[in-house]
């Protein structure tokens, strides 16, 4: 048995809102290995790593480094212990050169001035030593994402990191860049460095890593040597429904088509193709779920259909009309409503009252005007009515919405979006971060709306939710539809895992059924 360079024992972390992110988690790594940390969204990987890097503190448990207990209070301490982290959102300064970014906070000096040549030398030496090829003089803003990531890795290394944590490093990379990264990481391994590799992509884990720890719902499910397990095994350990939801619903009665999405392709601002030939349709009376690990194109789909994003190729038709030609308001009037995944930015205006938040999509309509002014009585009536119907816990319709809990905020959003008489409801992560009661309430509402004749597009990273609420199911992986199921209730978790994690891909003919 090899020695543990680092181990985290019985770690428990409860966030102030009561969410248990980690429960008695055990995690340990050997010196010189590449260790995968895998788990679904919300399984507790990020929280665990944040505690290791000192940005969060565990409530229980201890961290041992080389067998000695250590307190990691902040990132500076972590760096001092030789732990480096490569964040998903790079901690880089775009206008500075690569060399500048590497030495910030430990700048070499000559005669009181910052010694650029020395910094570039440090950068060049490191770049050569670790085989991470970047031009020290290049400005970070001009670099591709892949190169930026190299700079981040180098930044940790020149600060003396011996253990590198990479948080979903391949999520933003193109396949070529991913290949390069793997070569570099393997090179680091031969030099004795230890790497913690967080990922959802099991073939990557299989290809790169020595051992794998699987987390699910905040607990350690198992630690395995990668050669002893198949991707299917890992997938089975990762994916599971944490709770059985009791959704009370009849079989869907599909009617005429409301939404038709044809051959959508999108390249994002960073030059990565995030949607690849996506086509599907939703008829009235049906909830179509899109399952998948976050960041596989789901957000882009919801942005495109709701009219917030117009830079894509392909066609979107709502009620037979071309959606690309329409403004957001026209789209909404044509029967689209939309729960955004980013509640605080798009879903609400925090300083506004509950009533003000409830009318943002209809304040201009005739029924709410009284002469030149808004009909306050009517608005108040509507707000009171919705507060009651949606069971919003508050001090009244005039309370600023920012004072509500997440669940109640989302109920206000839903009260607005679910009552506009929409034919198409886009619900993007509708229950993220909110309590069980509110979640169940919203899920049942979606079913109600479906029964009322609406088409519902449910995008969710919560497997229980998307499997049990949806009638039909699309699985997305890497910007592509990897599977389509006509009947969501017949899908097994195991299959879901395989398609979500990119281990299996349906034939084009099977997927084509989604659009007819």
């Amino acid at each position: 048995m090899e020695a543990n360079i680092l181990s985290m024992e019985n770690i428990t972390k409860v966030y102030p809102n009561g969410f248990v992110a980690n429960k008695n988690v055990n995690f340990s790594i050997h010196e010189g290995e590449i260790h995968a940390l895998v788990g679904e969204n919300g399984a507790g990987k990020s929280t665990l790593m944040k505690m290791l890097f000192g940005s969060e503190k565990p409530d229980e448990g201890r961290i041992l480094l080389h067998g000695k207990e250590v307190q990691i209070d902040n990132p500076t301490v972590a760096i001092g212990y030789g732990i480096g982290m490569v964040h998903q959102h790079f901690m880089l300064v775009p206008s500075l050169s690569v060399a500048d970014n590497l030495v910030i906070g430990m700048e070499p000096k000559k005669g009181g001035l910052y010694d650029v040549e020395r910094a570039e030398e440090i950068a060049r030496e490191a770049s050569e030593k670790y085989n991470l090829k970047v031009d020290p003089k290049a400005r970070v803003v001009d670099l591709s994402v892949g190169l930026k990531q190299k700079v981040e890795i180098l930044k940790a290394l020149v600060r003396g990191a011996k253990i590198l944590i990479l948080d979903e490093p391949t999520a933003v990379l193109t396949p070529q860049e991913t290949k390069e990264l793997f070569i570099e990481l393997k090179h680091l391994k031969t030099q004795g460095y230890t790497v913690v590799f967080i990922s959802h992509k099991l073939h990557e884990v299989k290809e790169l890593c020595d051992r794998v720890t699987v987390l699910r719902a905040g607990r350690t499910i198992g630690v395995e040597s990668v050669e002893n397990v198949s991707e299917q095994d890992i997938s089975r350990m990762m994916v599971g429904r944490d709770v059985r939801l009791d959704i009370d619903k009849e079989k869907a009665q599909a009617k005429d088509t409301v939404l038709r999405v044809s051959h959508i392709n999108k390249v994002n601002a960073l030059g990565k193709q995030v949607l690849k030939d996506v086509s599907f349709q939703i008829p009235r009376g049906v909830i179509l779920g899109i399952a998948g690990v976050e960041g596989n194109g789901q957000s882009e789909i919801s942005e495109i259909i709701s009219g917030m994003d117009r830079s894509f190729e392909g066609e979107v038709e709502v009620n037979g009309k071309n959606a690309r030609e329409m403004t957001v308001r026209q789209l909404r009037e044509n029967g689209v409503s939309h729960i955004s995944e980013d509640r605080m930015t798009y879903g609400i205006v925090g300083d506004g009252s509950i009533a003000e938040n409830m009318i943002s999509d209809r304040y201009y309509k005739k029924e709410f005007q009284k002469g030149l002014l808004l009909d306050e009585k009517k608005i108040a009536g509507l707000a009171d009515d919705l507060i009651e119907k949606f069971n919003v816990k508050c001090d009244g319709k005039d309370q600023p919405i920012r004072m509500l809990s997440g669940g109640n905020m989302q109920k206000v959003v839903a009260a607005r979006e679910f009552t506009s008489g929409a034919d198409l409801i886009i619900a993007n992560q509708p229950t993220r971060g909110i309590d069980i009661g509110a979640s169940m309430f919203l899920r049942n509402k979606l079913v109600e709306l479906r029964d009322g004749g609406a088409a519902v597009l449910l995008i969710s990273a919560d497997l229980s939710e998307v499997m049990e609420v949806s009638d039909r199911l699309i699985v997305m992986s890497n910007g592509r539809i990897s599977a389509y199921f006509e009947d969501a209730s017949e899908v097994t978790e195991e299959d879901m895992g395989l398609y979500m994690l990119g281990l299996k891909q349906m034939e084009p003919e099977e997927i084509r059924r989604a659009s007819c």
Partner: protein
């Protein structure tokens, strides 16, 4: 006690405390420099109520503030720091003077045309920063100051070259046509009918901003532009509209001020009415409902400072020092924050206990 009330309470408390501190600062300054502090302070505090004329001065001081302040509420509610209301006021006064001296029309109609012209000039001034922002993302903070200075010289050019009265004995325009002047309302006070227009503008502005669909759009854009876009509001249109109307009101304020207070246009420099409007707008948190109080306060200390300057050696600028101290403290979010936070936590705990008991 719920958290909403605590927040409101603290907003009021914070404003009152800021005013209290400003007054204390003023008194301390007076004590240092006045030979007879008590008398000076009493003149400052009570002087404005000393005579009919002085009470009238409060009202005439307040009149233009209502126009500009309402305009500022509109502009700043859309989250645009467009300070061109200062220049807008000036060119509004200028163009009204031109219409007054160069056009002949029957009484009433003439005044109305002057106010309209003033308003349009003010709107034009505020339109420049608005355009630069919507089209080129140039922040209105700097551009609006440039517009102010530009307005000053353009205004002076028109006055000096178009309607200057060489026989006036000083740099001033021809006399305003009697048909265009705004009459004194209460004899011996200087209070003119402009105050009624001002009140109408204030009420109109309040209804527009707080009660109409256009106002809802402006406030929504100002508070969260992404949410506005998501809701289907056309953001650039709303931003431009708010600034045009705000500028219109400021320009109209300039027109009312010159036609009600003077016989000729005789400004030689910017008048600071725009910044008065900004100060009281901030004090009122851009809500026209609270604007009259803020305007009254500023007008009162202006007149008080004026009385004080006449009877002692303390200059009138004390009023501006006070108002800036107040604004600085009002915009400081964390001022009293700790106290507020403690109260909110205590209230929340109490509520929780109540629930558990029940």
């Amino acid at each position: 006690m719920n958290t909403k009330n605590i927040e409101k309470q603290f907003q009021v408390l914070r404003t009152l405390l800021a005013i209290g501190i400003a007054i204390a600062v003023a008194f301390i300054i007076i004590c240092f420099i006045s030979e007879n502090p008590l008398e000076t302070i009493s003149e400052f505090v009570l002087g404005p109520l000393g005579s009919k004329r002085k009470i009238g001065n409060i009202i005439t001081n307040l009149t233009p503030m209502l126009f500009v302040g309402t305009g500022v509420c509109l502009i700043f509610s859309a989250n645009q720091t467009n300070m061109a209301v200062e220049g807008g006021f000036f060119v509004g006064a200028m163009l009204a003077s031109v219409v007054s001296t160069c056009v002949s029309l029957p009484t009433g109609l003439h005044t109305a045309l002057c106010l309209l012209a003033g308003g349009l000039a003010g709107a034009a001034a505020c339109a420049i920063p608005a355009f630069l922002f919507v089209r080129y993302q140039a922040k209105p903070v700097v551009s609006s100051i440039m517009v102010n200075n530009m307005c000053l010289y353009v205004g002076l050019f028109v006055i000096n070259h178009l309607i200057r009265d060489p026989g006036a004995g000083f740099l001033a325009s021809w006399r305003f046509a009697e048909t265009s002047r705004i009459e004194e309302m209460i004899p011996g006070t200087g209070i003119h009918y402009g105050i009624l227009i001002g009140i109408a503008v204030l009420i109109g502005g309040y209804l527009y901003l707080n009660k109409s669909k256009a106002g809802y759009e402006i406030r929504t854009v100002g508070r969260n532009v992404d949410f506005a876009r998501y809701s289907g509001i056309q953001v650039n249109k709303v931003i431009t509209k708010a600034q045009l109307i705000g500028g219109f009101l400021a320009g109209m304020g300039g027109a009312v001020e010159v036609l009600g207070m003077y016989k000729r246009f005789q400004y030689q420099a910017l008048t600071n009415h725009g910044f008065d409007g900004i100060m009281i707008g901030i004090m009122a948190a851009y809500n026209p409902k609270a604007l009259p109080l803020a305007a009254l306060f500023l007008a009162y200390i202006r007149v008080g400072a004026d009385c004080m300057q006449r009877s002692s050696d303390v200059p009138v600028e004390l009023a501006n020092i006070m108002i800036s101290v107040i604004v600085i403290m009002i915009v400081a979010e964390r001022f009293l924050y700790k106290m507020k936070h403690k109260r909110i936590v205590a209230a929340a705990q109490k509520e929780l206990e109540g629930k558990e008991a029940a």
